[in-house]
Symmetry: none
Subunit: 145 residues, 4 copies
Amino acid sequence: MRGKSINELGIGQRAEFSKTISESDIYSYAGITGDFNPVHVNQVYAENTIFKSRIAHGLLSVGLISAVAANVLPGPGTIYLKQELSFIAPVYIGDTVTACVEVINIDITKNRVLLKTTCKNQKNKILIEGQALVSPPKELDSDPG
Amino acid sequence: MRGKSINELGIGQRAEFSKTISESDIYSYAGITGDFNPVHVNQVYAENTIFKSRIAHGLLSVGLISAVAANVLPGPGTIYLKQELSFIAPVYIGDTVTACVEVINIDITKNRVLLKTTCKNQKNKILIEGQALVSPPKELDSDPG
Amino acid sequence: MRGKSINELGIGQRAEFSKTISESDIYSYAGITGDFNPVHVNQVYAENTIFKSRIAHGLLSVGLISAVAANVLPGPGTIYLKQELSFIAPVYIGDTVTACVEVINIDITKNRVLLKTTCKNQKNKILIEGQALVSPPKELDSDPG
Amino acid sequence: MRGKSINELGIGQRAEFSKTISESDIYSYAGITGDFNPVHVNQVYAENTIFKSRIAHGLLSVGLISAVAANVLPGPGTIYLKQELSFIAPVYIGDTVTACVEVINIDITKNRVLLKTTCKNQKNKILIEGQALVSPPKELDSDPG
């Protein structure tokens, strides 16, 4: 249950996680955060917007990014320091979102890793782009001396 | 059900939303996003980290920021374009998080508003800092010509 | 899966259903209804009210009343027509609420039954009082002639 | 985070909140309250009723009424005292419910406000009618004498 330490990481390493976003995901997410923006939970309203139907909260898909970072790359023990995000296209109910993280810079001295973070849908359309700065888990101290 | 248009916004306007983060929030959020980082859902693991107990997902609190933007300032109809985030301190089960947005720049030509976005806990400690770029709702077109 | 028809009901019949109200019940209920009244989801705020701590939504406990009516008395097939409610005392996280329905009037011609509806806590304190008017399920037509 | 006090309220003031009721809302509500009336959670059963399909719990839509009262009018700090309800028409999965509260009487001496409470669907059909008696938040006491 420990992810990769900084010495196990290399530029270009990638990992991803995909999930079909359900209506219940959107509704539960609204319920946790209090974000009842009608474009998410009011079909009549949403039909009269440029989106034409209810869409998922952008940050819900960002949660899949942190899931990949926390579960896989670097994995358990990772501390999330910064995240920059551009929301490019909407996620509709039933869309399958793939969140991808890719190592693009490594600072061994500070134990920090820069990740390119991207979400795409089932048509390979980019939904969200950005970068995350994370601190990967440290190796267990093997030198008690 | 329409938020403030760009002409109704002014630099320095602020709005906030507060919620006590429950264990059930964290578990539901994990279930939606798939982020089962043990520091969030494994108490035994968490006790052996620098956090000493389970903490909430950083992005869960960010959801309160988008809730304020979507519900209050600018309000319904707001489109979320960009978000920059620095995660500064953790949120523990039972902490009361206040998310605050404040208008810091307005670009009338592009219909874009820059918000300072901050989350604090019940001790007024800053948890998350950042900026969001949003597009406030447009006024209804009253000139059919 | 059919409840009692009007001919199977008698004045004085009672049924009840009890549940300990958890923090997750309150948070999920807020998430479904959008009722983020801070007295329900903000511990800091709630401590400064006459309630001194977060309380459950009053209507959450009313849901236990409709559960008894729908599950037991009269049971499946019951149609809920009217409900009058007085909210007398608050429900705190961890309180065990017992919802009771009691038949107090029967109108065979209109197929309507008046129920006294009460919620009490574990100290037998009355929390909610009221009356419900319901239409019990009809007997299956046994005379095809 | 304080709603309108009695002196800020006037007869005829209105507020509303709308939400498309999802299958997940109904199932989560059933899970919280224990109301597993088959007309809500059993499609086979529901198809053989006068409703022809699963319908939402009537009290779920009433929750939107308390959300408007708690969030907007009178707003945070409001105490819910009484509610009378008539359930007139069912809510189907996917219906968009608009809950409206309107001030119809004000008792300044007792600090009580009577609200007309109505839920309609996307076709403007009345689903639920009733009245709520609430106690709006008090102004902060500015006279220590």
